[in-house]
Every structure is written in structure tokens, then in C-alpha cells.
Symmetry: C2
Subunit: 213 residues, 2 copies
Amino acid sequence: MLQQTPRSTPRVKSDRVEFSREAAFAILDEALICHVGFVGDGTPVVIPTIQWRIGDHLFFHGSHGSRMAQVMAAGQDICVTVTLIDGLVLARSAFHHSMNYRSVVLFGQARDVTDDAEKILAFDALMDKIAPGRRAHVRPPNEKERCATKLLALAIDEGAVKMRRGPPIDAADDLSWPVWAGVLPLALTPGKPIDDDLVLPGVIAGKPAEREP
Amino acid sequence: MLQQTPRSTPRVKSDRVEFSREAAFAILDEALICHVGFVGDGTPVVIPTIQWRIGDHLFFHGSHGSRMAQVMAAGQDICVTVTLIDGLVLARSAFHHSMNYRSVVLFGQARDVTDDAEKILAFDALMDKIAPGRRAHVRPPNEKERCATKLLALAIDEGAVKMRRGPPIDAADDLSWPVWAGVLPLALTPGKPIDDDLVLPGVIAGKPAEREP
């Protein structure tokens, strides 16, 4: 279970909240990005970035010069939030319109990953997330590239999962209102791959993970 | 133009940054949710919520009892970030993999909207965003429902737009690597509407915005 603390416990709609680690993992694995919140120069800052997971650690990266990287290095508390949009909930009353979603909110201090072996594993895991199978075919990162990338890890420990699922919940009085009601599902969906102009002849077009044998 | 301040100016990849108000508006209008960052009890907190726009103000709402609403009422600085994922950028080298995205980061203090006439306009705009045309057919919010909803407005003033577009940018040395490269477009896409079990006979199935005349 995730660690339930005052800051990780939402104060409203607690029927939508759970602390299951497995539920958090599933959301983190399905989502591409997180929004990292930190305090920089006294002001809250929220930055979107790719996130991925190995075991019970969430990873994200940035440039060494970024404000986010500088704050992380100082060992400050951060909040990392990951949200999947699942659909629009269209009720009979304007008031009961809602959104189906799954979200994870995590708190903690990020660890600066500097060990090269750990970096290799982490960047491999990132490639495996964004394009499974592709890692075998691309030019692997070299040490200079790994050094140039600031890698941060956050323990998936203190936090909460919040989600809404299912149909609209209208008041009994509104059920006779003559309007369609239901859910319009939404999902982040891949389109047709767009070839780079410089793809070599003989390389299979539009195949993100493969190349000709 | 958006107000460019030290906190609204990204320190890295500044070629991806612009301060156009129109670019910000377009992203806010296309995206459904924002991630609101604030400092609560000394810790950064990032909460996802639906956002919408009227003119140069961004609106979002919550419950009166939420931590977010309490912090807003105290006139603290917040950061609101909106991100659209446009695609995976698949390069020839692992290092140059990236994501195409458009994001807006805004700073300021939210205003508690309490005037009922302004609330009516704002909730109408929200309905018009999530399901254009539907507002004419649903039961409008009553005063009690408007009172129960905490409505917040943030001036779209201080902030920045950051985006990445286009193909992968590989190093010249990697262009001969025999692997497909390009962009896998991603977009939040609606699926087939799911009827609520209680939809009345005679109401057009799967029509979020319409009903039988």
C-alpha cells in the first residue's frame, strides 16, 4: 500500500481515493508524462516531463541547467502527479457533468541518479516503455550522452490514487429529462507513423520498433 | 504577449519557448485539464482538474472543502500547467528520442469567483467546451448547485508556452544507422459513446449534444 499521510490524503470525494500500490503502478505505466511540482524561489512551479517506472521507483529526466534539476539537487520535497483522461461524463444536469480519469499523486524527495550502471538500466527502461522492441535497433546512448542527462528517481511510496469511473450519477429528479446521457470515452491514441525525410532506402517505413533484417 | 518574468522563463531549450498569448489560448482551448500547483503546509501539491477559458482568464473549479480551494482563498501564488501530447519522436539514437508536445505554464494568484452572474457565464462556457451544443438540452445549474461549487479564475498573463514539433534531430554520424525514424503521432481521441442505462426511450442514442426534437 502507498503511505497515507495528511498531505497524501485528499479531503474531498474520498470515495474515489485508494492507496493501492498496484493501482498506482498501472497508471504510471500507462501514462507517458508526469507533472512535477516543486517550489523554486518561493513560488510553486509545475513542469511536464516524460516519466517511467522500474519497480517501486519513478524516473524522470531533465537538463543539468534546468530549475527543476537544481531544486531536486537541493533535496527539497516535490509532488509528482500523473493523470490519465478516460472520458467525458455527460449527465442530464449541467451540474453532474464530470470526467472519468485515473490519477496518482506522489510526494517525496527525488534522488539524483549518478551511477552509470543504474543510468544504463533506467534509460533502457525508458526506451522499452515508449517503443517496445526498438531498443535493439537504435544506437545506444554513450557515456557522454548519459552524463549530459540529469536523471532523477522518486520512491513510489507516499501518495494516493484517485479515479472516477462509470456512468453519470444524476439526481432522481433529473432522470426524466429528455436528453442523452452517458460517457464519451477518450484515450490517447496513436496515428499513422510519419517517416523522417532521411529514412534510409530498405528500412521498413512506418515501423517504429523494427528494421529490415 | 504573455508577461515574461524570471519564474516564467525556462532556463533550457529556450528555442522551444514563446510568449504568444494566442499560442497559449489555442493550447488551453484544446486541452481538457490543467495541473494546478500550490504550496500547502509547506509542501508542493499538484492536482489535476478540468480547465476552460473565457477571454484572457482561465477557470477551474473544485469543492469548497478541498485543500486547493483553501489555498486559493488565501491569495497564494499558484502555477497552472496545461500539456498536450502530440507524438513520440523516434530517432536513430536512443539519446535523441523525444516527445512532441505543446504546453503552457502560467503563474499568478487565483481569484475566487463569487458573483452569481459571472458563475453562470463561466459554467455555460465549461459546458460549451466539453460538449458544444449540449447546454441547450440539459437541466441548467440552479443557484444551490452554483453555490456548492468553488469557482476560481486565473488571469492568463504571466507565463510561457513551450513546444516541440517536427521530426527527430539525429546527429550527422547517426544518419546511416539502419533503423526507421520518424514521429508516431498521439492524440486524445473520442471513442464510441457509451449510453447510460437509464437513457429514456426515444432519446437519440450516442448523441452527446442532441436529443430528439
